[in-house]
């Protein structure tokens, strides 16, 4: 008869297999260059209005130029493409009790080459206390870490920081 299991006397040290690559701090893509120019323009516009003795700025002078006002964002098709890629990598643990009502959010930070620099599970308290939630969260984390995402390089500043909300209930009800 087997004895009751106990935790190993000396658990193997948990450490990351590979050091995370140094964060890419490049700021020289088109989008950020655009942002810099907007900020500089705004500073240039605002600065004269702070001169003592002058009146309020005119509407014409304070409004940002129309050419740089449009936000640069991922298009609907690009967002759908990212979503499709992650869905193909997510193996839903359908046996988890109460999975229908669960929602798990992950915040992921990506390198410019699309690899994951950091992934964190929101609701960390529930992660420790609720085994079903933990199983779903870990399956979502595996999806993110095992997926090689194909992303539009020129929009790195937009997708470098994402929040993904996994909804197993929606997946099961379809």
């Amino acid at each position: 008869m087997a004895a009751r299991p106990k935790p190993p006397a000396k658990p193997a040290p948990q450490k990351k297999a590979e050091p995370s690559p140094a964060p890419v701090a490049k700021d020289d893509n088109d989008f950020n260059a655009l942002l810099r120019s907007v900020e500089q323009q705004n500073r240039r516009v605002e600065a004269p209005e702070r001169r003592p003795g002058t009146g309020n700025a005119t509407a014409e002078r304070t409004a940002p130029p129309a050419a740089v006002a449009a936000p640069v964002a991922l298009s609907a098709s690009e967002l759908a493409g990212i979503r499709r890629q992650i869905e193909r990598c997510w193996n839903v643990p359908i046996g988890v009790p109460g999975i229908e009502a669960m929602r798990v959010s992950l915040r992921i930070q990506l390198e410019a080459d699309g690899s994951v620099r950091e992934v964190s599970i929101e609701e960390s308290g529930r992660f420790d206390a609720d085994h079903g939630f933990r199983t779903v969260a870990e399956s979502a984390r595996r999806a993110v870490l095992s997926c090689r995402l194909d992303l539009p390089a020129e929009k790195y500043a937009v997708w470098r920081d994402m929040v993904l909300t996994f909804s197993p209930g929606d997946a099961l009800s379809g």
Binding site: M1, A2, A3, P5, K6, P8, P11, A12, P13, Q14, K15, K16, A17, E18, L35, P71, A73, L74, A76, L79, I82, R83, I86, E87, W90, N91, V92, P93, I94, G95, V96, P97, R107, V119, H131, G132, T135, V136, E138, A140, R141, R142, A143, L145, S146, A157, V158, W159, D161, M162, V163, L164, T165, F166, S167, D170, A171, L172, S173, G174
Partner: protein, 433 residues
């Protein structure tokens, strides 16, 4: 691929900016076997290395048989068992897409003792999910392999395991006209098979008590057929008591205190409960119809049974005391052998329809009936303790074989359980205490 609901298609992206985040709702996924690597366990010498290999083989066979895992071929492994005593080199496991990795080691502190250490790793996050150490008698390694399988299964699927369990069934041999039927027990994977009776009596419908130590079964013998109770540890049998008429299909209450019996008398059969402590019998149904095959809900407050009181055999539920009877099956065909899932959410049954036998499932109120199998003769469904797998009997007229089969409640992963002879009337134990 699972289909996603239209309502969940929201794709939200915050406006651009240095601190902006993309927000995406992931509403679809896949349901595929999880790729897992199971390394042979390291050992200090040839003997412990052999055991380490056997432990890994048992774990691999268990997980593969569940249909929820795909065990990656060992020839693809780069790291050897000895180097896996330390933290794995995860970078060597990612290219073969191992999402999880099982490692371990076997040592022998004394001639008759073993120590087995096991660790479960998440390969892509590079983290340890579980780590356990077992101290055991030298012949107990197979059971520990089942326990490790359960821990791994539970951690990765979120469901309770079912590998450290046994199946009791009726072993059959000889020509159909002079069938020899013996009670037999085996591990859920067919190992450690042994016969519990000698074949001198015709045995039917065994049931394992919730404590896993006793088996109740029906013996068709003269002058009076009887319900017997067998102690699995000692092999000793004793009659449960004398009942008027012929009593059969014993089913335990979840707490083991009560057995439900069908008692046939004067062409009619009704359901009785029998208190194993006080030996008091209480009649639960008084219908002139044939009421049979009772099965308790896991909470012990309801009973599902089979009755032809509506004209054809259908399924009904009632309270533990026989009150509040409700019919739950309304489809065409004939229903029988209901078995309430240990999880409480489903009832398995046999259905005869269109000239075939089916094993099916429905919710306790009769909703969402689904037929999982179809064959010449499928019958006697019984549940694995996690309520996910059903074991049943299949008779194949082409091969003239009667075998035990298992199927997942999704209708996939139909498999034959290995038995040395023909087999019928399976009953699955709970996790062994």
């Amino acid at each position: 691929m699972l289909a996603g609901s239209a309502a969940g298609l929201g794709l939200l992206a915050m406006p651009g900016g240095a601190g902006a985040q993309v927000r995406l709702d992931i509403t679809k996924g896949v349901v595929e076997p999880i790729p897992i690597a199971i390394s042979p366990f390291a050992g200090d010498d040839v003997g412990t290395r052999d055991i380490g290999l056997a432990v890994a083989d048992v774990i691999a066979a268990n997980l593969e048989s569940s249909g929820l895992f795909r065990v990656i071929d060992r020839r693809a492994y780069i790291q050897d068992p000895e180097s896996l005593r330390q933290t794995p080199r995860f970078a060597e496991w990612r290219p073969i897409n191992a999402q999880a990795l099982v490692t371990g080691a076997v040592s022998r502190p004394a001639a008759d003792r073993l120590v087995i250490e096991f660790r479960l790793w998440d390969v892509f996050s590079g983290s340890q999910l579980r780590g356990l150490r077992y101290e055991l008698a030298a012949d107990g390694w197979r059971r520990v392999a089942h326990q490790i399988s359960d821990v791994t299964y539970e951690r990765l699927t979120g469901e309770a395991g079912y590998f450290d369990t046994r199946i009791v069934y009726v072993s059959e041999s000889g020509p159909r006209t002079r069938r020899v039927k013996r009670l037999a027990v085996m591990d859920q994977d067919g190992a450690n098979h042994r016969f519990l009776t000698d074949g001198g009596q015709l045995v039917l419908t065994p049931q394992i008590a919730p404590d896993g130590r006793r088996v109740a079964y029906f013996v068709l013998r003269t002058p009076v057929p009887q319900i017997m109770m067998l102690d699995l540890a000692t092999g000793r049998t004793s009659p449960l008591g004398e009942f008027p008429g012929m009593s059969f299909t014993p089913r335990f209450a979840p707490d083991g205190s009560v057995l439900l019996l069908t008692v046939a008398r004067d062409g009619n059969s009704d359901i009785f409960s029998f208190d194993t402590a006080t030996r008091r019998t209480t009649q639960l149904t008084q219908s002139p119809a044939i009421d049979t095959s009772p099965s308790f809900s896991p909470r012990g407050d309801r009973i599902v049974f089979n009755s032809d009181r509506g004209g054809t055999p259908q399924l009904y539920t009632m309270n533990r005391d026989g009150s509040n009877v409700q019919r739950i099956s309304f489809g065409s065909g004939r229903y029988g052998s209901p078995a309430w899932s240990p999880r409480g959410d489903l009832i398995a049954f046999t259905k005869i329809q269109g000239g075939y036998f089916h094993i099916g499932i429905m919710e306790p109120d009769g909703a969402n009936e689904r037929l999982l199998t179809r064959s010449f003769l499928d019958e006697s469904p019984a549940w694995a303790p996690n309520g996910r797998i059903i074991v049943f009997t299949r008779e194949n007229p082409q091969t003239d074989r009667t075998r035990l089969m298992t199927i997942d409640i999704t209708g996939y992963n139909e498999r034959e359980l290995p038995t040395p002879l023909d087999a019928s009337d399976p009953a699955w134990s709970g996790l062994i205490p």
